[in-house]
């Protein structure tokens, strides 16, 4: 089973839920936790352990100046602005390249070949006997987050139980993460911002046809609007985590409430049962 943890709005507690859920599950069975928030991966902070790094590369064009006739076909074809043919050479802008391979197809001289370019890495570790952590990490300044997410997910592929921690937002990185998931846990907070962005996240899950459930985090008891929204969309509220300075303190220091505070391991076990009865 593959469970994605997403939110729309940032900072609602996706990583808190993902880390605690993974910790709790790993007490009794094997689980792989994949950090798909490759722009700002944080799960390794909750599970410090030595990791093996594997680079993530993406193919980008390299021009053979001896064959190139400066005909301009490649620059005209590229819709991403990654190639520009100027007076005496072809300029490439690898940061803009989407690795579609179009330039190599259209070059009449066969003067373009693709070479790998490193854009990030995947770090694999085993912080607990039954937990494998796979973190996708985008290099600073790179924009191809989906390629790193794809690579990180590939490392976990085939395992019977996988958790994906998504990035905030509703665009391509989130789609890449949710793809292929059997269930999506949407973590929200009871503010107009939280609800506004929850609506968008629900739309994404619906578009992809993935069943979803809600976790309300940092609740101050004023959850009526979120509860009404959940009922209207027929989404179960699977867990409510209250705001408390004690929980915030554990979380801020990189602790796990499922391990460090009494009662929470059971509640995360119940959450897992709610997702996978």
């Amino acid at each position: 089973m593959k469970i994605a943890i997403a939110s729309g709005k940032g900072g609602t507690g996706k990583s808190t839920v993902a880390a605690n859920l993974a910790y709790t599950i790993a007490r009794s069975r094997d689980v792989v936790l994949v950090d798909c928030d490759v722009e700002e991966p944080n799960l390794h902070l909750f599970f410090p352990a030595p990791a093996v790094d594997v680079p993530v590369t993406t193919p980008v064009p390299e021009i053979d100046p001896d064959r190139c006739t400066l005909c301009g076909e490649c620059g005209r074809f590229c819709r991403f602005g990654a190639l520009a043919v100027v007076k005496d050479c072809v300029l490439t802008f690898p940061h803009l390249c989407h690795s579609c391979g179009g330039c190599t197809l259209v070059c009449p001289q066969g003067a373009i070949r693709e070479v790998p370019r490193t854009i990030g890495r995947v770090a694999c570790s085993r912080p607990l006997p039954r937990l494998v952590l796979v973190s996708g990490i985008l290099n600073e300044g790179e924009v191809q987050a989906p390629a790193v997410i794809r690579a990180a997910k590939m490392f976990a592929e085939g395992h019977p139980l996988i958790l994906y921690d998504a990035s905030p937002g509703i665009a391509c990185p989130v789609i890449e993460t949710l793809e292929g998931s059997d269930f999506c846990l949407l973590v929200t907070e009871s503010t107009p911002f939280g609800l506004h962005d929850l609506r968008l996240a629900v739309e994404v899950a619906e578009t992809l046809g993935i069943p979803a459930g809600i976790v309300i985090n940092r609740s101050d008891g004023e959850d009526a609007a979120t509860v009404a929204f959940a009922q209207e969309h027929n989404l179960p509220i699977l867990m409510t985590i209250p705001f408390s300075r004690e929980i915030a303190a554990v979380q801020n220091r990189g602790g796990l409430i499922g391990r460090d505070l009494p009662g929470w391991e059971e509640r995360f076990t119940d959450l897992f049962t709610g997702v996978s009865p």
């Binding site: 700002e40 300044g141 924009v143 665009a171 107009p192 506004h196 968008l200 801020n252």
Partner: protein, 289 residues
């Protein structure tokens, strides 16, 4: 004019709350932009009155004319994004995956594939009590969010005649939309919070922002929730030569005013006082009165 983006790395640290409050007390002619097009929330605090709405067209999307298609599958072989799929015993384009590169249309021997315009969202300009606002809505699941950010910034610049400040509420993360937000700005205000995740994310954000040569300042939100980690953030900033221009206490008035849809600076609460002080420190640095 000073162009300032409020950013954070980690989501949920209080970017939008700080941006709206700063706009509320800036006291200079200004133009506002919501560059978090994935989850645009700034308008929820500013009661905007919509002036214009435009379609946002991202990169094109492929379309297969099944009357012409001979089912050879070359398009599916060549597509690197898995966007050509088998549906009802025929080839079809999955728009969620199509990046609009045009390879399929190029390789199709029958000329059955065309590239069509794709509407990925809407771009708005609005009037608010605090100044004009450029904002947008990305349709859920659409790509091209960086491109949409660039369009929002263009609208903001077009409205900026006579303004001393362009204030942009940025996206979380350090990827495509963040880079589109920061490029061309004069300064960023990074809003962080005392947690090890937020500090880790701040460090990555600073690395990216440095490449754009923007002036970087830091505000620590909810600083009193973990004073020891707050001290670590201040140590980090000092080592990097980054000024901490404000520390905002945890304050229930923040959530209350978000629920009321107004900036926190409309109250006399501790967070409001801290943001007024932050405004003064920041504006002296910018040479704005």
């Amino acid at each position: 004019m000073i162009r300032l983006a409020v950013v954070s790395g980690k989501g949920g640290t209080g970017k939008t709350m700080v941006a709206a409050a700063l706009a509320d007390v800036s006291n200079v002619p200004q133009i506002l932009a919501d560059c978090d097009v994935d989850a645009a929330n700034l308008s929820l605090l500013l009661a905007p009155r919509r002036l214009t709405t435009e379609e946002f067209r991202g990169l094109e999307v492929a379309r297969i004319d099944l009357d012409v298609c001979r089912d050879c599958g070359i398009c599916a072989d060549r597509c690197r994004f898995g966007a050509i799929v088998r549906r009802d015993d025929a080839w079809a384009v999955d728009p969620l995956h199509c990046e609009g590169c045009g390879v399929c249309a190029y390789v199709c021997p029958m000329g059955a594939i065309s590239m069509e315009p794709r509407v990925c969202g809407e771009i708005y300009t609005s009037a608010t009590d605090l100044g004009p606002l450029a904002h947008a809505r990305l349709f859920p699941g659409s790509g091209n969010s960086g491109l949409l950010v660039t369009e929002v910034k263009k609208r903001a610049m077009a409205l900026s005649g006579g303004a001393d400040l362009l204030l942009a509420d940025g996206p979380p993360g350090i990827g495509c939309p963040l880079i589109a937000t920061v490029s061309g700005m004069d300064a960023v205000l990074a809003v962080t919070e005392p947690g090890i995740s937020a500090l880790h994310d701040l460090e990555r954000l600073v690395t990216v922002c440095r490449r754009f040569g923007v002036r970087i300042s830091v505000a620590i939100n909810r600083f009193d929730l973990a004073e020891d980690i707050c001290a670590k953030i201040e140590e980090y900033c000092e080592a990097e030569g980054i000024r901490v221009v404000g520390k905002i206490p945890f304050d229930p008035a923040v959530v209350e005013t978000v629920r009321e849809g107004r900036p926190v600076t409309r109250t006399g609460s501790p967070a409001a006082a801290a943001i007024r002080a932050l405004r003064d420190t920041l504006f002296v640095e910018f040479g704005l009165s």
